[in-house]
């Protein structure tokens, strides 16, 4: 339909619109409300609820505004006799079998049916019969059902088919017996399943964790940004405000519409993680005295830290101190953290706790960002995923990939695990994890030969002995086919790979050949922001490269070395670090450790000397920079418990102490943000963000070896989400080692229930599950459990054998 401007009238108001638009869209834009249930702007039109019937001049019957396109001169009446009669009739039909017990329904107060019944229904119905009752299904720990309330709008069904790409719900039976269900009796498994709660206009599908915990009208709604992936979905935190005893709780989290980020959706992880904020919290500043933890005042704790650290600097030197900060810290927290430590003379500052090798070279050359905005990504013509698994790790980014793929984009993947994609992939090439870099180099070779521009001598020598397989060839032709709008996406597991630098170097070479910019997914919610705030051993605020003398050690190197003091911000070392065992050993031998975190940890109680409770995610104001480079600043959604302080204030105070100033230089958070902004702008102006480019090294085809991959399940990525009971209940069986049949066979563990993984001197014992989506010679080892901690795996060679 051509998009030419036409004019119509709605309720005698003349309105300009585009031919082909739906009446309901035009009315919405003009601020004329037409009642609706089944219509959802992000879903296909079903026109089944019939609530939006309106009168149209010359039509003998009322027509659904959600399905009728406008045409020149059309006269629409939304409140005429015909329209009102139709709306009343439909409303009566909807209510006859719907329970009229809003006071005991969780949706009460925010129910479309309740609202519209008030506005468009009749005071009294004529229905005097028994109502229908529908059996409930158990959809798992996240979504609660009360299917008697369902009005069959099929929004949830269409959501599953069209957005989640996972048709989990459907309509069973027909006529008055029709009901929504899974048919199979399975629980919802989609990473976006919670959105059915939002699309359901009534109380049929509600949030299980928050059900009956409060009424929507007593919640305060606070805008925030979700903290579990590098997309940074926009959310609203609903905070209980009436009852003093519940003053410190988030009751639920809902998506905050933003077309540029998460549209109107939210991943389950972002929706239900808030529960984690109520568990295992550190609430009081404490110091260890003679092996005993004692609660102390903030003043005392901060004094102690300053004294001990200054003492250390004087007796040995500042190089005996390292600062490790979580990639979920805010820009401001990161800035003040490094500012304080660098003022003290500390050089070893890092926010990368999951590296197997050194990745400084990569961070020098590339911004941890994707080269497009998310809406642009949804329109790309092709994409290559390199060891990137966005479906579970960056669900809202995957949603854009799916949009692109459904619109015809060629999506291809190269990695150590098959994609669990909810869209068709062109090629999904799985290779042993130890051979990742050589396959990317082979891809360069294949692209070069396809481009037939003759191979540059340097490269041809480096690549001479590399084998190009059929799948690599297929990817290469897929890439050549559409250089224009191509995206090459490097997944965050690449930076955990021992060959990270070479993988990225070859990928960069590939990108150059295809004239595209590499895109990076990153860990946590603010890797990009922490780079800008200077939380890297080789970069200062603004992402400015440091001189050699100023450069320090990475987090892993500092743990390997075993220093005298560690300052650890919001990192549960036992679960969150690559090589946790070694890190714990380093901490235990150190003379003085400070642990600043919202969450308590049994391990930290062993190695720390001071523990400071800081505000968690939504409790603090600050900025997160997402994978598109957007600075997303929000204010705290709620106050933390009494003695808990926002981390930025803690570091601002420590910094002021250090500078022995009476007044704090940073007395409000905006002042911090501004400093980083200036630093960044200056760096960008000087072209410091372009980088030098990596040098790919010669590479040849080698035999794959058995490698273990340290794997953080999507619901185990940070301390916060690990404490969220409903999410954990949904995936309660993830602590298993996974490898494919062939690998199991060659390791002689085919029938084993448990396996022992050995790396160097450490071992861990895990239940085994065979999983054909894993590449040969590759073993996926789950992090964040006691066995994983004692193994302390660093992605790389392992030995595996059966055990009891």
């Amino acid at each position: 339909m051509s998009a030419h401007a036409i004019s119509i009238t709605i309720d005698h108001r003349s309105i300009q619109c585009q031919a082909g638009q739906l009446i309901i869209e035009v009315a919405d834009q003009a601020g004329i409300y037409i009642p609706r249930f089944c219509y959802h702007p992000k879903l296909t039109v079903a026109a089944n609820c019939r609530m939006c019937l309106v009168e149209i001049a010359k039509s003998p019957k009322p027509l659904p505004a959600c399905a009728t396109p406008v045409s020149e001169g059309m006269c629409v009446y939304t409140r005429s006799r015909m329209a009102l009669k139709a709306q009343k009739a439909v409303m009566e039909f909807l209510l006859i079998n719907h329970p009229l017990d809003c006071p005991i329904c969780d949706q009460g107060g925010e129910c479309d049916l309740q609202d519209l019944a008030l506005g468009y229904g009749m005071a009294k119905g004529q229905f005097d019969e028994a109502k229908r009752a529908v059996e409930d299904e158990n959809l798992g720990p996240l979504v609660s059902t009360e299917m008697t309330r369902c009005i069959h709008c099929t929004r949830c069904v269409r959501f599953g088919d069209e957005i989640a790409g996972m048709p989990e719900l459907g309509v069973m039976s027909r006529g008055g017996k029709a009901y929504i269900g899974t048919y199979l009796g399975t629980e919802l498994r989609s990473e976006l399943s919670g959105n059915v709660i939002d699309v359901c206009p009534v109380g049929a599908l509600t949030a299980k964790p928050s059900r009956f915990h409060g009424r929507s009208w007593s919640f305060k709604q606070r805008a925030q940004v979700a903290r579990h992936d590098c997309v940074g979905s926009h959310v609203y935190c609903h905070v209980q405000s009436h009852y003093t005893d519940a003053a410190h709780t988030i009751m639920r989290v809902l998506p905050r519409a933003n077309e540029a980020v998460n549209e109107v959706w939210l991943s389950d992880r972002d929706r239900f993680s808030y529960e984690g904020l109520q568990h295992q919290r550190l609430t009081l500043p404490q110091v260890k005295r003679a092996g005993q933890w004692q609660t102390v005042s903030w003043q005392l704790a901060l004094d102690l830290i300053t004294d001990r650290l200054s003492g250390l600097v004087q007796t040995s030197d500042a190089d005996q101190i390292a600062g490790v900060i979580s990639s979920n810290a805010t820009l401001e927290e990161g800035f003040l953290f490094q500012q304080w430590l660098r003022t003290l003379g500390v050089r070893h500052i890092d926010c990368r706790v999951r590296q197997a090798g050194d990745t400084e070279a990569i961070t020098m050359s590339a911004c941890p960002q994707i080269a497009k905005t998310l809406p642009e990504l949804a329109q790309c013509s092709g994409c290559l995923l390199i060891e990137a698994f966005p479906r579970r790790q960056q669900p809202m980014l995957n949603h854009r990939m799916r949009q692109a793929a459904l619109a015809g984009a060629t999506v291809m993947a190269l990695g150590s695990m098959r994609q669990d994609a909810n869209y068709p992939l062109h090629v999904d090439h799985v290779v042993p994890v130890s051979t990742l870099s050589q396959h990317i180099a082979a891809l360069v070779k294949a692209v070069l030969s396809l481009k037939d521009e003759g191979m540059p001598a340097v490269l041809s020598k480096s690549l001479a002995s590399l084998e190009v397989t059929e799948s690599i060839q297929a990817i290469a032709s897929g890439l050549i086919g559409q250089a224009s709008d191509l995206v090459i996406l490097i997944g965050e597991p690449v930076l955990r790979h021992p060959d990270a630098v070479q993988i990225v170097a070859w990928a960069e070479c590939l990108a150059n050949l295809l004239s595209v910019q590499l895109s990076f997914l990153s860990e946590g919610s603010n890797t990009a922001g922490l780079r800008l705030s200077g939380c890297l051993p080789h970069m200062g605020p603004g992402g400015v490269p440091l001189s050699e003398a100023e450069c320090g050690l990475s987090a892993r190197a500092s743990f390997q070395k075993g220093l005298k003091a560690y300052i650890v911000h919001d990192v549960m070392v036992e679960d969150d670090c690559m090589g946790a065992q070694q890190a714990l050993m380093a901490l235990k031998q150190a003379a003085f450790n400070v642990y600043i975190s919202p969450f308590d940890s049994a391990h930290a109680r062993e190695w720390a000397d001071v523990m400071l409770p800081c505000a968690a995610g939504y409790e603090t104001s600050g900025t997160l920079v997402n994978c598109c480079g957007d600075w997303q600043t929000t204010s705290s959604a709620l106050a933390a418990a009494d003695e808990v302080r926002p981390a930025w204030k803690i570091y601002a105070a420590l910094l002021a102490w250090q500078q022995s100033e009476d007044t704090m230089q940073f007395d409000c958070i905006e002042s911090v943000t501004q400093v980083i902004q200036h630093a960044t702008q200056a760096a960008v102006a000087q072209g410091l963000h372009q980088g030098e480019g990596l040098v790919p090294e010669a590479i040849e085809t080698t035999e794959p070896v058995l490698w273990g991959v340290a794997h953080w399940h999507d619901f185990r990525v940070d301390p916060w989400v690990r404490q969220a009971p409903a999410l954990q209940a949904q995936h309660d069986d993830v602590m298993r080692v996974r490898c494919n049949h062939a690998t199991a066979e060659s390791s002689q563990i085919l029938d084993a229930e448990y396996v022992q993984i050995r790396q160097g001197l450490t071992v861990g014992r895990f239940p085994l599950v065979l999983d054909e989506s894993v590449a040969d010679h590759t073993v996926i080892v789950p992090m964040t459990c006691a066995e994983a901690t004692s193994l302390g795996l660093v992605t790389g060679p392992i030995e595996m054998e059966a055990c009891k």
Partner: protein
Amino acid sequence: MVEHLDTVCYRFKSVKDSWTLPVYTEQGGYAVWKEIVKTAPAPEDIIEKVKASGLRGRGGAGFPTGLKWSFVDRTAAGPKYLVCNSDEGEPGTFKDREILLTNPHQLIEGMLIAAYAMGMNVCYHFLRGEFALPFQRCEAALAEARAAGLVGEGILGSKLNIEMHNILGAGSYIVGEETAMLEALEGKRAYPRYKPPFPATQGLYGQPTTVNNTETLASVPMILEKGPEWFAQLGTAKSGGTKMFSVSGHVCQPGVFEVPLGTSFQTLLELSGGLASGRSCLAVIPGGTSMRVVPGDQMLSAEMSYEGMEAVGSAIGSGGVIVMDDRTDLAEALAVMMQFYQHESCGQCTPCREGSGWVSTLADRLAQGLGRSGDVDRLYTVAQQIEGRTICAFGEAISWPVSSFIKHFRPQLEAGIAPANQAVEDGQ
């Protein structure tokens, strides 16, 4: 007795093995199709002839067939589809079945001609799930026609390709609605689609599609063989041709009769053996249960044509004539019909899903003599609330019988209100 009885679709009623290719060809079958393949006439000319014949859709709505065919853009890119609707689900209707059993080749020929006229290359013939034998006959006939080079690729050595498939349904009434049928053909649940877009522009797999009833398509070869004038003149000035009526109910010899449109109801009644002796005609549903009921006395003076039925406030519909004599409990008759509709509602849209059950509950109660005061009026308003607000015409199929029963036979329905409840009303 009746001139031109069984002359078009039902002409081989008593010809032995009429469903086989040799017999059909011997009777002159496929001559029209062979001629078309040989001479490749302008498709528009064929459509003009169908228009001139006055042929109207025999599936229920009576839409002029030639006009419907002219809506398809022959130049549209991509495939176009012809769908033959042999779902025959309308209660009281069993005439397409006879065509499928006795004359499948004429239907195939009709489909081929229609496909040629509209520039279509694929025909889907959808048969209702219960039609086991008709399906076998159609499959056998299709195999014969294919073997003879009449269907498929390079028809009769020409460059013409027309594929044809028989599809057996899974048993539901709603799949007879044309857009529901398209959904079913696409492998989905038979949910009627909201129109527009109409099938002529976006039908099967989003491509231009025409859906026609079995009888409609099977009439086409005869129209072209004997000329549109011949066909038109069989009927009345406004209703060309013949129509198959399946007569059931209180008649002595129920059956299928193909008569010229305009034949009097009296004649049709006589053909079907008349009423039992001493009985009078109380009511007739002339076009399947979705059409309005007509009081017997009005029917006895009516003629079976589109305009004749309109004059008595009903319609020819699918040609399912249900005769009810004076023994009939009309409240029960209505209740049975409403049970059917509540059972067959697809449940997609609110008024039909919720209304069909409600209407059925009310009608049942009246039939059992347990009606509450005001039930008849309630029945009427509820049915009215459904009508015109649903996605497909199923809403009307519920509402028309209800409103016409109440209009003509209110006392019989009021009688279903329980005495106790009446007393309450009287006492007020």
